[in-house]
Amino acid sequence: MPLKLKKTIAPGLVTAFLFCLPLFLSGDYYLTMVCSLFLYVTISQSWNLLGGYTGQINVGQSAFFGTGALVARLLWTGGLPFIPALLCGAFSSVLLSLVIGIPALRLRGHYFAIGTLAVAWIAFLLAENLFPGVTFLPGKYVATYSLLPRYYLYLVIMLSTILVVFLVVHSRMGLAMEAIREDEEAAQASGVNMTKYKVIAFVISSFFVGLAGGAFAYFHVSYYWYLPFILMWCFEPILITFIGGAGTLWGPIIGSFCYVALKEVFALTLGEVNVLIFGAVFIFIILFFPKGIIGVPEKLQEHLSKKAKSRQSARQKV
């Protein structure tokens, strides 16, 4: 079988499995957990494009997530059908990224990080003050609420995020982005238009984060308007991506899995100390696997080959 076909079979099977998954899961609880997982994969993978591949550490993702959610929810509860509302939300997020991104991307390193954090914080304060209450789904939507369409929405958004990031990363654009990450001066010297690629990465990233925000707005029956703007939405994708392995396609996926699954298991079984133990496990993973979980097989191989080598040299000595 040609290699290209082989490479598409596994992902194809997984995708088919995910589409059929609701048949095997009984009860809203599982669907809710899996939706949560898909959400985290989406926002982490989007962040990964700008942060992991292009090396621009964006600490302000909550502003984009929140904008997507806010616009989508406003339009949808205002009467617009959901899909157009969702897209409007995503495009508002992109608009914001152009307005913020173009001046912000002139900043390097720490400054870009702090600048984006400041933007996210401003967005949160504005949301808290301008929208101080709760957003409720109108009665008719609550009566017909079903988790299934929400599951598929999250699934489709997650798959398209992964697909687009995959395509970008394996294209010339991706090469340029990684070059920028490795050494900005050198990249510029070899003719890479830094601003162009940074902006592209930012725009793509914020588009998918905005979509995720809209999905969030669709999912929750009622929440305080400021909820999608809280700063945890900035920090979690960064942590997840790094702990999974930044700059790799699998990193955010594995990271999200571990983060969501572990947190839930601990919360259900460990009672009051669950967050504490989670923090300890977190630290343990970083200290022993500095490249992230995706580096685990590598480390194991290293460890095993070291053992093999020492066994070999011991044999030779005899």
Partner: protein, 409 residues
Amino acid sequence: MRKGNFITAAGILSFSLVFLLLPFMGGQSYGGAPEKIKVGASVALTGKFAGGGVDVADGYKLAQKHINEDGGIYVKEYDKKLPIEIIIYDDESDPNKTVARLEKLNSVDKVVAYLGGFSSAMNTAGLAIAEKNKVPWVGVTIAAEGVFSQGFKYTFAPCMFSFMEVTAFYDALDSLPESQRPKKIANFELQSDWGIECGKYLKEFGQKRGYEITLTEKYAKGTSDFSSLIMAAKAAGCDAVFSVPTPPQSMTLIKQMKELGYAPPVTCFIRGPDLSNYWEVMGKDANYILTCGEWSPDMKYPGNERLVKDFREEKKTEIIGMQVGCGYGAVQVLADAIERGGTLDSKAIRDALTKTDMVTVRGHVTFDERGIGMVPYSLCQWQNGKLEVVTNPDHTTAKVVPAPPWDQR
């Protein structure tokens, strides 16, 4: 590299197994005739809101203990008394988690009713899930009337809401002799849904009852410097101030009022100062502050003595948080409804809740058609280290005392 891919895939598969194991964690569901009545709650046991969350959970657990000690709840359908089990999960002060926990309680643990969590953000998320799942929800620590005006049928809150707090405030002012009664009120308006609601009712009720809201100054949750508000109120000569600050704002406000020499005869701060350790933290500066009085260990309602005695014995502490009593009361309401409903069917319990008419440890409870609890309007005042009940239709332990200027204390 191929080995690496294999290991990675294996890793992912094993984690997927974790998801499949999730149902076996936390609660077990039994088939057939129930051995107990299962009720669930998602409460903030860790995180920012853990202080009040733990109090609410303690109230639930104590009520569970007492109900079971008395034999349980009589369910007509099975013609016997069944014990109640309250499953409490931690939502880590995160409304997203509240949703997940409540879904688990419904799909996996198969509870017949929900109890609320602590504080509006979590409760708002929680009650929406209850409505969606058509499972009755009884909760406290939610005060925004707007939240209960969505036409939801399954949600009930036996606690004081914004318009009740404001009414109680005006009752307290009315109770002062004419010569000492404040006329000009300053409203420090927290920009949250219930802060703004209180502002609206202050104006509305004030007009009807002859009080003037001289000034309204807004602040937000993150505000840490109140000097501009205090100086404005001082300059306008306001002799009463009303606000709904949570800690640490409830402390900073008083500290700065002292520094700036502003001592209105009546200071009413709902929420922050009702925490039992407020005196410990503020010392004498807490004197004369009026605050929420939903429940106090000194109230003489039936069942309260037992609650207070047991709690103090178990926890070996004098101080009992207000939410312990409120949580206990919520369980009483639910248990009573289950008994009157006669079955463990969610709709029957819900219908029985609408007809609630009982006296709990925090007073008489009925519900209006929105599910808002009609409970006694009650305020307390810090007087020499003790939270005295100063406004309450049934029992007061002291009268409202106007505050003297700072240098005379």
